[in-house]
């Protein structure tokens, strides 16, 4: 039984997550096999790109039922986090519906640049095991044009154009809008904290 599975959710850029785990001394199972995913201790759902396109890949790979029924700790990263929500404005698509809410596009009429790209601070909301042992308001690296509104499941909040969910938790499902694999020591601590849950 693998300790950690990284879901092969398609698209480019997945290798940076694998390299980040490698720097922590962890070799995960990189897989799209539902049985392997279901039987592992922990699951990472990475994702970069377009929500509707990513949902189609998960559907084609028969992973939707598998992902929804996971009981072990799961973390979605960037688009992987957005896919945990009910739906997304990006391609007007139904997502995994594990966390209620709809992913919204940043308003482009405020004069602030979209995408939100760069290092921004995360403010803890309530209990946040992933930020354990860290200074207040740590910086993480964000790149996105769509975001989740703040809700009761938000455990980390960031402000850009609007307050949005930088980190989320519902039951065993976690999510980071930013890229822990590219967020320096802060990101490494978050990944390590997730692996220790």
């Amino acid at each position: 039984m693998p300790r950690l599975s990284v879901v092969n959710s398609g698209g480019a850029n997945l290798s940076s997550v694998l390299f980040a785990l490698d720097r922590l001394g962890i070799t995960p199972e990189f897989t799209e096999d539902p049985d392997v995913i279901t039987s592992s201790d922990k699951v990472i759902l990475p994702g970069v790109g377009h929500a509707a396109h990513a949902m189609k890949i998960l559907r084609d790979k028969n992973l939707i039922g598998c992902l929804k029924s996971l009981k072990q700790p799961v973390i979605g990263i960037c688009l992987g986090m957005q896919l945990l929500y009910s739906s997304s404005e990006e391609g007007d698509v139904e997502c995994l519906d594990i966390i209620p809410g709809r992913i919204q596009e940043f308003s482009k009429t405020t004069g602030q640049a979209v995408p939100h790209m760069g290092w921004n601070t995360i403010k803890t909301q309530g209990e946040n095991a992933l930020l354990k042992g860290m200074d207040d308001n740590p910086y993480a690296y964000f790149v996105h044009s769509y975001a989740a509104p703040v809700s009761e499941h938000t455990i980390g909040k960031t402000e850009y154009i609007m307050p949005f969910t930088a980190m989320v938790k519902r039951d065993n499902f976690y999510g980071c809008q930013f890229h822990p694999e590219r967020s320096g020591e802060v990101g490494e601590t978050i990944l390590r904290n997730f692996l220790e849950i």
Binding site: G118, W119, Y139, G187
Partner: protein, 255 residues
């Protein structure tokens, strides 16, 4: 609050980091991984690796070093130079680069920007622009990696920024050629005009020589990041010290 980014640029030629003055007379400044590691330690927010020979030599450049960089770095990085097909772009991103930057190929075929954005997302697609002031106008130059091949692209810089963004660029790096490599300050006037028309992140490039140049470009041109090469390579400015100075000037940076 979103921090202003400090971005060292490593010009790569034949697998080593080089630096020239106004795109000429390239001298070797060091090993890719050594310099990359040094900048991460100093507190760089992002790195750009720019293969300066690629577009002008019309060859496919060996990019195995991209994977080595991706293994090493825990901050984002962008690869520029010689990416002119979807396959090349995919290879660089699959090797772990966070973004790709295109310059001459975008001018040859502006539709390439859209193709890249549709497949990889706008956040991966940076358009680099080499721009020079000519009798009061800003105009775009092409094939700047090799002086003997550099030509005017017959495009107005501000119009090209708008078009690139409309076509799917997720970030613009504006390299002001009059200033490049001479360390007399960013072209704040040009960058301010670019800021007005650029609705995606805008990165200033060309001319950094002193701390006040960074203060000036952030305060006056409101760019999202400042890119520099020689001041960092030659240790004229240490990034950690620079960020402390910027913090004193109330510019938000990641310390």
């Amino acid at each position: 609050m979103l921090a202003k980014r400090i971005i060292p640029c490593l010009d790569v030629k034949d697998g080593v980091v080089v630096k020239g003055v106004q795109f000429r007379n390239h001298e070797v400044v060091g090993d890719i991984l050594d310099l990359a590691a040094r900048y991460v330690d100093e507190g760089a927010d992002e790195l750009v690796f720019y293969d300066i020979t690629a577009s002008s030599d019309d060859r496919v450049v060996d990019k195995t070093w991209v994977r080595d960089v991706a293994r090493l770095l825990n901050i984002p990085f962008c690869v520029a130079g010689g990416i002119r097909t979807m396959k090349q772009a995919e290879a660089v991103l699959n090797n772990g680069a966070d973004k790709i930057s295109i310059n001459s190929p975008a001018l040859e075929n502006p539709g390439f920007i859209t193709e890249l954005a549709d497949v990889f997302g706008v956040q991966c697609v940076v358009v680099g622009i080499d721009s020079r002031e000519e009798s009061g106008n800003y105009v775009v130059y092409q094939y700047t990696g090799d002086e003997t091949k550099t030509v005017a692209a017959k495009r107005d810089t501000l119009t090209w920024i708008r078009e690139a963004v409309d076509r799917g660029a997720g970030e613009i790096v504006l390299n002001c050629m009059n200033q490049d490599g001479v360390r007399k300050g960013y072209d704040v006037r040009q960058l301010s005009q670019a800021r007005e028309v650029c609705s995606v992140p805008l990165i200033a490039s060309g001319g950094a020589g002193a701390v006040e140049h960074f203060t000036d470009v952030f305060n006056t041109a409101h760019v999202d990041g400042a890119l520099a090469a020689s001041v960092f390579h030659k240790k004229i400015i240490n990034i950690a010290d620079l960020k402390q100075d910027l913090t004193k000037e109330k510019i938000c940076v990641r310390n």
